[in-house]
Subunit: 451 residues, 2 copies
């Protein structure tokens, strides 16, 4: 993309309404615009990152064997009356009536609807196991929306639902989700720690939240420092392997890690003192096995091999897609702006032309731009007639992890500068070397994709 | 995808509620499920086609230089009060109140919001031309939703908005949209004819609807038969070339082609009688230049080169993304089911194993499946333990354009059958030849993509 033809409305001033750094940087970098309290337009740069994140979530869900579909945003109140949640859900549910005065709501989650889909078509144990998921806009009418996309009202979430014959099978689905989530967050450059969560009115041990450590997190968290040494890495996974899933669950959840909601001082005291940590965290996902709560209430049953009709065991598993942008920025920025991890960066590299209008720098930049695209990379070329300082400031603010700077002095020696946004280090190398270096840098990102 | 692990709930019986063939086939092929009147879940197969269509729309918009963003589904009523449309819009607007009793609505279109985005950031002619678009769910509270996704209430639309300094520039944007739409529909295997439309209360000559001819179309159309001979093909387009855009507009709109809304008997009578045609058509898109209507009402102005402040010239341009599935099926089906054009088919090819459980057919099918995927193709392998007739019926119903049938008799001679869904013709060739043939068949589909 040529910046002269893009729509990137960066702000010079810090917006007053932003209380936390990710909100401030998303506004300043021209990623979002608030349209109503807690409701945002995703400007082109923000939309691009949102898509990168969605793509990773889709790939990892499909790698795990989960099937994508798409449920609508508006739901009939009748479905929620069946589960008893229409009255139980508080003011966060946005209720409305259509022109025929039928009660509707803007879905805050989809347990009822997905259970309705299941019961409409599935009646045999032979169709199990089954996990359906979607990435769709939700609405929760927060009393005080704030922190930008971190606590918005209209937000994008991946929610997936497993349907299994037995509790044991459903717990394997739970583990599959845990594994796929660990992979998902690592591809985004995040460390998200599974922490024991509160089962709420349903209770049970089978729920974990995934938290990213950040000073601005909404939750206080308590953990054994050994947990931050765990990396998922590029291990080979067989998502049908029950023992492997269980082993990974144990590896990642056996050390102490809880939020203030489930924190237990006595248990925490058993962690060796030098490994006890207290910090703040941002919740970016949750997995939950809830058994037959919805299947019994809504009649989602299957006939077993022996002819018995039984309610299916279910769980629901969510990733906060839009809030992940905020979480990534909270975890990765400096005083100049955002620092995108390579896995989610909107553009792979920025090209800064130091002397726009100069024949040789212009043509060197155009050649770089063309060749980077031919190599499958997505460059942003700042071809505006601006001074170098303004171009650097924009690149730093929007946080592309790599920048190529092209000026007449370097070009005289066939050199450009390749600069890392994270370290600030620069190297003077030939344009061809810069392209090769970037291909090498992004090779793991492309290799991680799932088709 | 292995069918044994997919979620493809095909129906044996014709659903009673479906009045037109596309609705019936989408229900029977397990593509959609109605959740409330005019509100659908997109089951996995339907969601996959919806994504293929979205992808083509995105690519052709970006090829034309248009910039994607994403506006929210819910909008503040205040924005619509500025334009005067809050009161003018009838019962099709879904109005609601949030917990603080603020008036909101589910966006039926986005002229107001995109104009608000523009005026918030753009103040100079130097930022023009600019076209912003999104693909987002809309809601129109139809009195009598029907015909499945053809006239739903919650529907997916691409709507784009151009901002230009002068009427002349805006008409070039209009032509750019016309050209990009012609390419878009052709990639989907559709012929969509631009027809002069009714400008409504704003009037003006600058609006065309795109109609697909189909017996079940909601509009009666009148046209010169020469127009159906026009093909866009793979011509090279320079979207900055004003003369080229104008020439294509003239080529595709100078012959008589109107819907009943704008039909003029006297003009039609000037078409030679043997070329006069009357038919029915489905509207799948519309382009519209409306000048300064919204920019004046909402203060979207720029400062010109001479320091004058002027309202920008705008247009809006829509493609009915979700309804396109219905339109494509109306235009391409037979009594056995859907016939997907290669450009939008959910899977590129189906593999039918005639003797599931037989070692050699199973391993031949697995090898085909693996090699087709390695070749970048997306196969659906029917690995269920079902008889051949049921497998063929499912493949015919869901409409994959190509099928490979693998049985022990053929394999003894290293042959499989490659069958065209459209013609029904089969060829006995080696598995390797079948893969090569499919690579050749889909090469134009991949070549048409825009990165």
């Amino acid at each position: 993309m040529r910046l002269s033809r893009y729509f990137l409305p960066v702000l010079k001033e810090d917006p007053k309404e932003a209380q936390i750094v990710s909100h401030r940087l998303m506004l300043r970098a021209g990623m979002i615009k608030q349209q109503s309290a807690g409701i945002y337009s995703w400007l082109p740069l923000g939309y691009k990152v949102l898509n990168r994140i969605q793509q990773i979530v889709h790939e990892e869900q499909q790698r795990a064997g989960h099937i994508p579909l798409l449920m609508p945003t508006l739901q009939s109140a009748d479905l929620w009356r069946e589960s008893g949640r229409y009255d139980a859900y508080g003011d966060e549910m946005l209720r409305l009536q259509d022109r025929h005065k039928r009660d509707m709501l803007y879905g805050p989650t989809n347990e009822e609807m997905v259970t309705d889909i299941f019961r409409s078509y599935v009646s045999s144990y032979k169709s199990l196991p089954l996990t359906l998921y979607h990435i769709q806009w939700k609405f929760r009418d927060e009393m005080r929306p704030r922190f930008g996309v971190m606590r918005g009202r209209e937000f994008l979430m991946k929610d997936g639902y497993n349907f299994d014959l037995t509790k044991e099978d459903a717990l394997h689905a739970y583990n599959r989700h845990l594994v796929s989530y660990l992979r998902t967050y690592e591809r985004m450059g995040l460390q998200a720690i599974p922490m024991r969560a509160d089962g709420g009115p349903i209770g049970g041990d089978y729920t974990h939240e995934f938290l990213v450590l950040a000073d601005t997190g909404e939750s206080e968290v308590f953990y054994d420092s050994q947990i931050t040494d765990l990396k998922f890495g590029d291990r080979q996974i067989d998502y049908d392997d029950v023992a492997q899933g269980q082993a990974i669950l144990e590896e990642f959840t056996s050390r102490y890690a809880r939020t203030d909601e489930t924190h237990d001082e006595a248990l925490f005291a058993q962690v060796p003192e030098e490994r006890r940590r207290t910090a703040r965290g941002i919740e970016v996902g949750q997995i939950f096995y809830f058994g037959t709560k919805y299947s019994e209430a809504m009649g989602a049953t299957v006939v077993t091999e022996t002819g018995e009709r039984v309610p299916v065991h279910m769980g629901s598993h969510g990733i906060g897609v839009s809030r992940l942008l905020g979480a990534i920025i909270e975890a990765s920025h400096d005083d100049k702006g955002i620092i995108w991890p390579e896995g989610v960066t909107p553009f792979h590299v920025g090209i800064v032309n130091l002397k726009q209008g100069d024949g040789s720098t212009d043509s060197a930049c155009e050649a770089l731009y063309r060749e980077l695209k031919a190599a499958g990379l997505d460059p942003l070329y700042d071809d505006r007639d601006e001074r170098a300082g303004a171009k650097f400031a924009t690149m730093d603010l929007i946080g592309l992890p790599w920048r190529i700077t092209v000026g007449p002095r370097g070009l005289a020696e066939n050199k450009v500068e390749l600069t890392s946004r994270r370290t600030g280090e620069s190297e003077a190398i030939s344009p061809q070397e810069a392209i090769e270096r970037l291909k090498t840098i992004y090779q793991p990102v492309f290799a991680a994709a799932y088709h």
